[in-house]
């Protein structure tokens, strides 16, 4: 059990660093950066008006949205979608405590199962938020989103489990996410078989990451040319702000987990030096974010059936082959 000092420590971690406050700062920074990249690719300047170089524009957008009246039509659900979205945001931010960004990371044997379960809350909350007000376009988007998740999530989970199993078998890391990240660099050089497993899982994990985050070419649930704004069509004011907040935190957490498992975690920093580990992990995360944004702004979009077929045809074999290699290697 936790004593009083540890409890205070956990509350500080949850609400300040690397929890709520730090995540808000990170959301502002990543959104500003993403919009600048999109602007550069589309021959625009991106945000310029609010703050130095437009850095505070995402914060201004957030404040504008949450200050609006919460308007719900007479057929819509009133409180529950807001509560569900807030809890889902809380779930993703709580997971920041199991990353090397935390100065006192939290871990447990087999915690990866719980982490995967908690990650799943966010798409469900997004779907619930979209369906909370009747709109045919939101309904179509949720159908597409669920088809995408069914086609991506199991294989993505298999890809995540590959380094966890390898580390658990060779380094006694108790199938824990944080503990695996401390040996993630060594998983690539254990043996030729482990290298093959890690390479396959890294490819599968990246494709799964793009699909789960609805990055092009897998953004058909929010295809604005067909479905207005997909999942976000009927949302406005504080509900849209919470949906965006949830999506943006997901955009931070999922690549962070990818960095922890496939890109060596805090390596070359010693994991016991938390601030150096945090800086290294953030730098690696920034590289992954840049690649994701470049892909997002330069790829066309799949039709739903094309996207789903691609995932079944390539992501599943790659990820499950990686998992089998990890089990028998």
């Amino acid at each position: 059990m936790v004593n009083a000092t540890q409890a205070l420590n956990l509350v500080f971690e949850a609400l300040v660093y690397p929890g709520l406050l730090f995540t808000i700062v990170l959301v502002i920074a990543t959104q500003w950066y993403s919009r600048k990249i999109a602007g550069r690719i589309q021959y625009r300047r991106g945000p310029t008006y609010t703050g130095p170089a437009g850095f505070l524009q995402p914060l201004a957008d957030l404040i504008k949205l949450v200050s609006k009246e919460d308007l719900v039509n007479e057929y819509g659900l009133r409180k529950s979608p807001v509560v569900v979205a807030a809890l889902a945001i809380g779930a993703l931010i709580a997971l920041m405590l199991v990353t090397p960004l935390a100065y006192s990371p939290v871990m447990a044997p087999y915690d990866i199962i719980i982490v995967i379960y908690i990650i799943l809350l966010s798409p469900l909350a997004l779907a619930y938020l979209a369906l909370s007000q009747p709109n045919p376009y939101s309904g179509l988007a949720v159908g597409r989103y669920l088809a995408l998740l069914i086609s991506a999530d199991p294989a993505y989970t298999a890809a995540l489990l590959t380094p966890i199993i390898l580390a658990g078998r060779h380094f006694s890391t108790w199938f824990s996410l944080y503990a695996t990240s401390t040996v993630a660099d060594r998983l690539w050089i254990l043996s030729p078989a482990s290298f093959i497993g890690m390479a396959l899982a890294a490819v599968g994990g990246f494709i799964g990451l793009l699909a789960i985050l609805m990055i092009k070419p897998f953004d058909f649930p929010e295809a604005e040319s067909e479905l207005y704004w997909g999942l976000f069509t009927e949302l406005g004011g504080p509900r849209l702000a919470l949906a965006f907040f949830l999506k943006f935190v997901e955009d931070i957490l999922m690549p962070l987990i990818y960095v922890m498992l496939f890109l060596g975690g805090p390596w070359p920093a010693p994991y016991s030096n938390w601030w150096l580990s945090a800086i290294v992990v953030l730098l690696k995360y920034w590289v992954v974010l840049t690649i994701i944004r470049l892909i997002e702004n330069s790829m066309p979009r799949y039709r739903p059936d094309q996207g789903v077929k691609f995932l079944w045809k390539y992501l599943y074999p790659i990820s499950f082959l990686a998992l089998i290699v990890a089990i028998i290697a």
Binding site: S104, A108, Y110, A147
Partner: protein, 118 residues
């Protein structure tokens, strides 16, 4: 591994649930209730009759229809796997109505049960 806080899985679940509730409540209070109280709810309620009605394309839509989500998912998967879904539906039509298929399934279940209780 001595770095960080190590819990057993049950404590970890309880801890994460508590943290999720704490952060979720903070997000709800700060980003919803606080801003709504400070600004959102102060917007005057101008009682136009269509204020809370669904509006489609600028027109008041009396009841907005939502498509069947499950059917959509099945439709997308069927389009993705055209041949497989054809074979499956034909096979289901051709074989699954015959009594001996069910007899085979029962027989198989008996064999599995026999092996398990052996």
């Amino acid at each position: 591994m001595a770095f960080g806080m190590i819990f057993d899985p049950y404590e970890f679940v309880a801890l994460m649930s508590g943290l999720i509730a704490l952060i979720g409540l903070s997000v709800y209070v700060v980003f919803y209730e606080l801003f709504q109280e400070a600004a959102g709810r102060k917007v005057a309620e101008e009682g136009t009759p269509i204020r809370y009605y669904p509006v489609m394309g600028g027109w008041d839509a009396d009841i907005s229809e939502t498509p069947a989500i499950g059917r959509l998912v099945v439709d997308i998967l069927q389009r993705a796997w055209k041949n497989a879904s054809k074979v499956l539906s034909r096979g289901a039509k051709a074989y699954m109505r015959d009594w001996y298929v069910y007899a085979y399934i029962v027989l198989l279940a008996l064999v599995v049960a026999a092996l398990m209780v052996r």
